[in-house]
């Protein structure tokens, strides 16, 4: 028997440039906030805009996270995702409107309880309809992108129209619960209470999601499935079940985003999900399809950019997001943090 040949791998550290390239997406958000500060000049309006931009970004992230995971896991692109946003908003707001006693009372605990109840109802219902959607609409068209896009667009239309049938064709106006109205003043800037709540809430969801994906077994399977589904299946996991779970969870998150967005805008329409989908798609593309962290950063960028530009140059706000998307795709054609597929 001969001894094993000498094997001395040289472990060099990544060069500074490589590490910077890895960290660059994370740095973009602070850089954008700083650039916004320089461009705007006054601290108070900058603070207000930053908070509302972050709030908007968090809400978009909540809607986008499910979509990007569903794509990463099963290569399914769901154009009907926006329908769950609308559905969640209508269910949640109906619950809130049915509890005038809880929302009109100037008690934070009662108000939050009402909001949480509304969110729970919305999530359960959108989760269930997500399950049905997967069963009826998505399942027969696996592996065919073209048909997926067509069929899910059809599903979007049908759900939107059903919302019209159930809740009537008009938009619904609402007031936020008593203690969530108004603003607090901090360092001379008026910060709307609801926006702060939205930031906290969105951050909590992001952290919870990251915890589940990084620290639990199911998260490990999901991440492995995104990277190489065949290998996960050959190890004996039924990826289909995992996928259905992710689809349901993603739909429920879309519903949650819908409730949050409805409370933010104080008006809901059946077409709101469809309109939000445009921002959600931009976020998913610039983040890199399949990447939750990428979607988070992308959502914050979109939210901040929209608010800064709307303040600086209102006419440009409409195309600022397209501009952002173009710039990022020129820099990284696959999105900021593409999921490396082992295929």
């Amino acid at each position: 028997m001969t001894a094993a040949p000498d094997h001395a791998p040289t472990m060099t550290r990544l060069s500074a440039a490589d590490r910077l390239a890895k960290a660059a997406p994370f740095l973009l958000v602070p850089v954008l906030i700083l650039a916004g500060f320089l461009a705007i000049g006054t601290t108070s309006s900058w603070l207000t805009l930053t908070v509302s931009g972050l709030a908007m970004g968090m809400m978009i992230f909540v809607m986008a996270s499910g979509l990007t995971l569903v794509f990463g896991l099963m290569d399914v692109i769901n154009f009907g995702h926006g329908a769950f946003v609308s559905l969640g908003a209508f269910v949640g707001i109906s619950v809130l409107l049915a509890l005038p006693g809880w929302t009109a009372e100037p008690s934070l605990a009662l108000n939050l309880a009402a909001v949480l109840l509304a969110i729970a109802c919305a999530m359960v219902l959108t989760g269930l309809s997500g399950w049905a959607f997967e069963r009826v609409i998505v399942r027969p068209v696996y592996g065919a992108h073209l048909k997926q896009i067509l069929v899910t667009v059809g599903g979007l239309i049908v759900i939107e129209q059903l919302i019209h049938v159930i809740w009537g064709p008009d938009e619904i106006f609402l007031n936020r619960p008593e203690t969530l109205q108004g603003a607090v003043t901090f360092a001379g800037a008026a910060l709307e209470k609801y926006r702060i709540l939205a930031v906290v809430f969105g951050l909590a969801i992001f952290l919870a999601m990251r915890l589940i994906l990084r620290r639990t077994k199911i998260g490990l399977i999901v991440r492995a499935g995104v990277q190489n589904g065949q290998m996960v299946e050959s190890l004996g996991y039924r990826l289909r079940l995992v996928f259905i779970g992710v689809f349901v969870a993603g739909s429920a998150l879309a519903g949650l985003g819908g409730v949050m967005w409805g409370l933010y805008q104080e008006v809901i329409t059946a077409g709101m999900g469809e309109r939000m989908m445009i921002l959600v798609f931009i976020v998913v593309i610039i983040g890199g399809l399949g990447s939750v962290e990428g979607a988070f950063i992308g959502a914050l960028l979109v939210g901040l950019m929209q608010n800064y530009i709307a303040f600086l140059e209102p006419k440009l706000a409409l195309i600022s997001n397209i501009g952002l998307m173009t710039a990022i795709l020129m820099w990284r054609p696959q999105g900021m943090m593409p999921v490396v597929k082992a295929k």
Partner: protein
């Protein structure tokens, strides 16, 4: 001779041939067969939508790319004619300039979008076109100094194309400029349709179909997939813009609702799928059936809703405003069960 005009792509089904001939005859003689303003409107709309849907089929059915920006290109052509007619005055030159600039603008925009998205993944294209198209739609309604905003633009076209221009009578029908206008639309549509038929049956069209079936293999054989996809996108955008120009010449009005709305995009998708993806003839049947249904189905639904009065949920579901829902259901079912559409069915059931 006939086969040469059809570029060798004959209907290959007796029923289909009969249907297509019927459509051709009805459209060619529409002013005399169906007198009346509404019938002529319907016929012109059908002509224009046949071209629009056929150009979309070049992308969806032949190349396998889903785009949501087709109405944007359609709108570019329409606004091109509208803006040229508004600023250059009432002349044939203005129509030509507007049409040409609309088509060029559409092709350039398609090239830009294609370069950004098709390079990476075809699926990006669907999402990016959706985003760009909605941004353009919003932009058009915001820049009301230029585009007229939500109200749109009305403008004048040469007198020979308007109802005020009369020149006698034939078969008991008053001949006026409107009929000339109709024949302009009809002839242009026919030429554009035959041109598209020529394109998809050329070697270029074969490569597109190869890419649709298996892009990896097409690349391996040596075709630059990105190049072909981008070229198909530009061609389809230019033809859509030309259809938009025809629509603008016919209506003498453009507005966001008639040219840019997402609803029209859905209509186009439905027409392609119902008629049959991957056949130009599918566009003909899809557009004819859909436009007729759009014009007459809603009144039928109103009657049905009235008949269902008193039953619990049914009247709400049958409300004429909910017809989009039924189209959505029809759309899903046809993607599942008739992926080749009417034409595919007719051809296989020979």
């Amino acid at each position: 001779m006939l086969t040469a005009i059809l570029s060798g792509d004959t209907p290959r089904s007796r029923i289909l041939t009969v249907l297509l001939l019927a459509v051709l005859v009805c459209l060619a003689a529409a002013p005399f067969l169906f007198p009346g303003v509404r019938a002529l409107e319907t016929a012109a709309t059908i002509c224009i939508f046949i071209v629009l849907v056929a150009s979309y089929d070049l992308l969806l059915g032949y190349t396998g790319i889903v785009s949501f920006a087709h109405t944007m290109f359609f709108g570019l052509g329409a606004y091109g004619v509208a803006l040229a007619s508004t600023h250059l005055g009432r002349s044939w030159g203005a129509l030509l300039v507007g049409t040409a600039s609309g088509a060029v603008a559409a092709a350039v925009l398609a090239l830009l979008i294609g370069l950004f998205s098709l390079r990476v993944r075809a699926i990006f294209f669907a999402m990016i076109t959706l985003a760009v198209a909605s941004a353009v739609a919003v932009l058009v309604s915001q820049l009301f100094e230029i585009t007229g905003g939500e109200d749109g633009l009305t403008y004048q076209i040469p007198r020979a194309l308007t109802p005020a221009f009369r020149f006698g009578e034939l078969f008991g029908v008053n001949l006026n400029g409107r009929i000339i206008n109709y024949y302009l639309v009809f002839a242009a549509s026919l030429v554009l349709f035959l041109l598209l038929l020529r394109i998809v049956n050329s070697p270029f069209g074969r490569v597109l179909q190869a890419i649709r079936e298996n892009d990896f293999r097409a690349e391996a054989i040596g075709y630059r997939v990105v190049w072909y996809r981008t070229a198909a996108t530009c061609l389809s955008a230019a033809v859509a813009a030309l259809a938009g120009s025809l629509y603008a010449i016919w209506l003498r009005y453009v507005g966001p609702d008639t040219t840019l709305s997402f609803e029209i995009m859905l209509d186009i998708l439905l027409m392609v799928v119902i008629g049959g993806m991957g056949t130009m003839y599918g566009a003909v049947l899809g557009a004819v059936i859909f436009v007729l249904a759009q014009n007459y189905l809603q009144s039928l639904m109103g009657v049905a809703a009235g008949a269902a009065e008193g039953l619990p949920v049914l009247p709400l579901l049958l409300d004429p405003n909910r017809w989009l829902m039924w189209l959505g259901i029809l759309f899903i079912l046809s993607v599942y069960f008739f992926p080749t559409g009417i034409v595919g069915r007719l051809r296989s059931g020979r």
